[in-house]
């Protein structure tokens, strides 16, 4: 089992390709500039990443035009995206893909995702804890679904959805079933988001045509669990970038005639952060490798741990940069906003710990 905690050679190659693309196309200054533009998501970058490198179809079987890879490869992509706080809908697309893969009869849709023809997203609040996606805010007619009838009309509202703005297709949980909806048929209103590099939106459906995909939410829970696993790797990447940026800075910033990185107060905190990041790497790898009963435990551990580490790394990045780290013109705030938002996404650390307690038999009382 311990080898699963390492990176394979193909994974390192994939990482290099993504890193090259991002350093060429998404330096932080460009990411910052985009946050104030009308297009918060970078469509060109997503195209280059999604179809150029094949990140969109990573999970899609080869016979449907995808890479037939696993969450492990997706996690490597997420690490690099986390480092760059890149404004692309990779996580949302991955979640939708994982969901469609678990549903029958979605081959055509998966093929369109792999080719880049369409991008999909799942219409749940980004804060949803896996297994907790059941809060129903959308209703369906006719109800109950009639045998053989796959067309329905959906009405309702889903708030704070990630990666839905650039999506073409939305998978909407409603009244206990999952429906595919065309994005053009709904109203999406961009939300002023704490994380300006992953702008959420509120979705309004009003008698919107939906195609019944499946009855029941168990596939949705699994897909959100996969998303949470991959998010841990994104958090890992972000934490690594924060540490690297900070270490670089404290080596060159001089105060009182010495590099500030020579002061033991900062050194010890950076070393502690490094220890936690090294741990984040192990738990994040395990979360995308584990199967069976172990998977839910591994993902809860990874989310509980990596959420805190990413926030700590970003907070230390701001603090150790001093004044400059508190300005708009330094990337630290992009990391901070991403890290804090990610810690609230797909369940907070505290909720993952509570879930974990159930899984390992340590009840609260």
């Amino acid at each position: 089992m311990s080898d699963e905690l390492l990176y394979s050679e193909p994974e390192e190659e994939l990482r290099a390709a993504v890193a090259d693309l991002l350093s060429a196309r998404a330096p932080w200054s460009a990411v910052l500039a985009r946050t104030e533009s009308a297009e918060p998501y970078d469509a060109d970058l997503w195209k280059a990443l999604g179809t150029g490198i094949g990140a969109a179809g990573l999970l899609v079987p080869e016979e449907l035009g995808g890479a037939g890879a696993s969450l492990r490869e997706a996690a490597v992509v997420a690490e690099e995206l986390g480092k760059a706080v890149a404004p692309v809908p990779f996580l949302g697309s991955l979640t939708a893909t994982a969901l469609l893969l678990a549903l029958p009869g979605c081959d055509a849709q998966l093929r369109r995702i792999a080719t880049g023809e369409q991008t999909a997203a799942v219409a749940v609040p980004f804060s949803t804890l896996p297994g907790n996606g059941r809060r129903n805010t959308v209703s369906v007619t006719p109800w109950p679904p009639k045998d053989g009838v796959t067309d329905a009309r959906l009405t309702g509202r889903v708030t704070g959805v990630a990666d839905a703005l650039p999506a073409d297709v939305l998978i909407v949980p409603a009244d206990g079933s999952l429906y595919a909806v065309q994005a053009v048929d709904v109203t999406r209103k961009a939300v002023t988001s704490l994380d300006m590099t992953r702008v959420l939106c509120d979705i309004e459906l009003e008698d919107t045509p939906g195609e019944l995909l499946a009855i029941g939410y168990s596939a949705l829970d699994e897909a959100l669990t996969s998303a949470a696993a991959v998010l841990a790797s994104e958090q890992l990447g972000l934490a690594e970038r924060c540490l690297a940026t900070t270490v670089e800075y404290v080596k060159t910033r001089h105060q009182f005639g010495r590099a500030v990185g020579s002061y033991q107060g900062l050194k010890h905190r950076l070393a502690q952060l490094w220890v936690q990041i090294a741990q984040a790497r192990a738990v994040a790898r395990h979360a995308v490798s584990a199967t069976g009963d172990e998977r839910a435990i591994a993902v809860a551990v990874a989310q509980a741990h990596c959420s805190a580490v990413a926030v700590l790394a970003a907070e230390e990045c701001v603090q150790m940069h001093g004044g400059i780290g508190f300005t708009w013109e330094h990337p630290a705030h992009l990391y901070l906003k991403r890290a804090k938002s990610a810690s609230l996404a797909l369940g907070t650390a505290a909720r993952h710990r509570a879930r974990l307690a159930e899984l390992v038999g340590l009840p609260a009382s």
Binding site: T192, M196, Q255, G323, S341
Partner: protein, 401 residues
């Protein structure tokens, strides 16, 4: 507030009489605001501990509340102390301590009356905690100095008429001895003020670019080369406001959070209850400590204990605002407004949860980083040895940067 002494009590009666007479002569409801404030200054009822002729009567600071309460009760206009905080808190004590008679007469009255706003030009991009490393140059030229350099984290620079400035007058001297202290006219040619946007989206502060700005030597405070010592007077007065004083329970960020928990049962996360209560206790401990400090220092100068209060305040604000977002979950993913704005006042606990979280990050940087505050406590309170210093006796120009 400590109990007044017998001496105080006598003076207090006298003061109350003075104020009654003053108000009889200057009806706040009819006299123009500026005229009223000027008259109050001239009557020695502005800042009591300042000398006669400069707005005071050389009385104890403890009596100031007597005056403030009496004027407030009479509905008199105040000098909007938030707006002129830097002038009142930092420039004025320095001018009082080091200014010539002419300088004091020129600057203190319009300063106290709020007619002239002041700002502070100390920090530089390359000299944050290590202020004495600053690089802004002042070169003598006849009866003037020519000042060139870049200053940062300057609040009110865009509204200020005057600035207190520390600049390097001798780069060949060790860094602490090559500095001098000036008053700079913010309307002079060569002064450029640019807003400095911060992570919250707004700009409370400015960058100030000084390009060959002429400062008359008559606007120098203290001797040439004595700027570091003069600046200490200014800085001693800086770390007072934050974290000190008496406030009711659940003031500030803890109040916001407790209110959220009480009024919105749906955000109560039982797993986080103990953390909430731990922070509640920490906030209450900080509050009682600030009260104790006020009682101790009622008549004295702020000591290193003020550093502890500021440190605790910053840490607590960051933990509380972080927990608030965690409790709010989905709501915490939203922000109120990223538009670049110039706020009139800064309210750490205002606006939205996201704003509070981000703004609190500045609390451990502005006005002395938490690291520097801990150094101060370690060295000045506990008497632990300082770091080995390699920068104290070297010519400034030869220091690593």
């Amino acid at each position: 507030m400590p109990p007044l002494t017998a001496q105080h009590v006598t003076t207090q009666h006298d003061l109350e009489n003075q104020i009654r007479d003053f108000l009889a002569a200057h009806d706040p409801s009819t006299v123009d605001r500026t005229d009223f404030l000027r008259a109050r200054f001239d009557a020695g009822l502005a800042w009591l501990h300042y000398p006669p002729g400069l707005g005071g009567q050389s009385l104890s600071r403890d009596l100031q509340p007597v005056v403030e309460q009496a004027f407030a009760a009479a509905g008199a206009p105040d000098n909007d102390p938030r707006r002129i905080g830097i002038g009142l808190g930092m420039a004025a004590p320095t001018i009082l301590a080091y200014g010539t008679e002419a300088q004091q007469e020129r600057w203190l009255r319009p300063l106290w009356c709020g007619e002239e706003v002041w700002c502070q030009l100390f920090s530089e991009p390359g000299a944050g905690s290590d202020l004495a490393a600053l690089a802004t140059r002042a070169v003598p030229d006849g009866d003037d100095w020519i000042v060139t350099g870049q200053k940062v984290w300057t609040s009110m620079a865009h509204e200020a008429r005057w600035a207190i400035l520390v600049a390097r007058t001798d780069p060949d001297a060790p860094k602490h001895s090559g500095l001098s202290y000036f008053v700079l006219d913010m309307t002079a040619p060569g002064v450029e003020v640019r807003p400095l946007r911060q992570i919250t989206g707004e700009a409370e502060f400015n960058e100030v670019f000084l390009t060959d700005v002429r400062v008359p030597d008559a606007h120098r405070l203290g001797a040439v080369g004595d700027g570091w010592r003069v600046a200490q007077t200014t800085l001693m007065n800086e770390r007072v406001a934050i974290g000190g004083g008496s406030a009711p329970r659940e003031t500030g960020m803890i109040g916001v959070l407790a209110d959220t928990w009480r009024t919105r049962p749906e955000v109560r996360e039982p797993a986080l209850h103990d953390r909430l209560m731990t922070l509640w206790v920490a906030a209450e401990a900080a509050r009682l400590t600030a009260m104790r400090l006020s009682a101790q220092l009622a008549a004295g100068q702020p000591g290193p204990e003020g550093s502890a209060a500021k440190y605790a305040f910053a840490t607590l604000n960051q933990q509380l605002s972080g927990l608030e977002l965690e409790l709010l979950g989905e709501e915490g993913l939203r922000y109120d407004d990223w538009t670049m704005r110039r706020p009139d006042v800064v309210d750490f606990v205002g606006r939205s949860p996201g704003y509070r979280y981000l703004r609190a990050k500045g609390n451990s940087i502005e006005g002395g980083t938490s690291e520097i505050l801990l150094n101060i406590i370690a060295e000045r309170v506990l008497g632990l040895p300082g770091e080995i210093r390699t920068d104290k006796d070297v010519a400034w120009k030869d220091l690593p940067r």
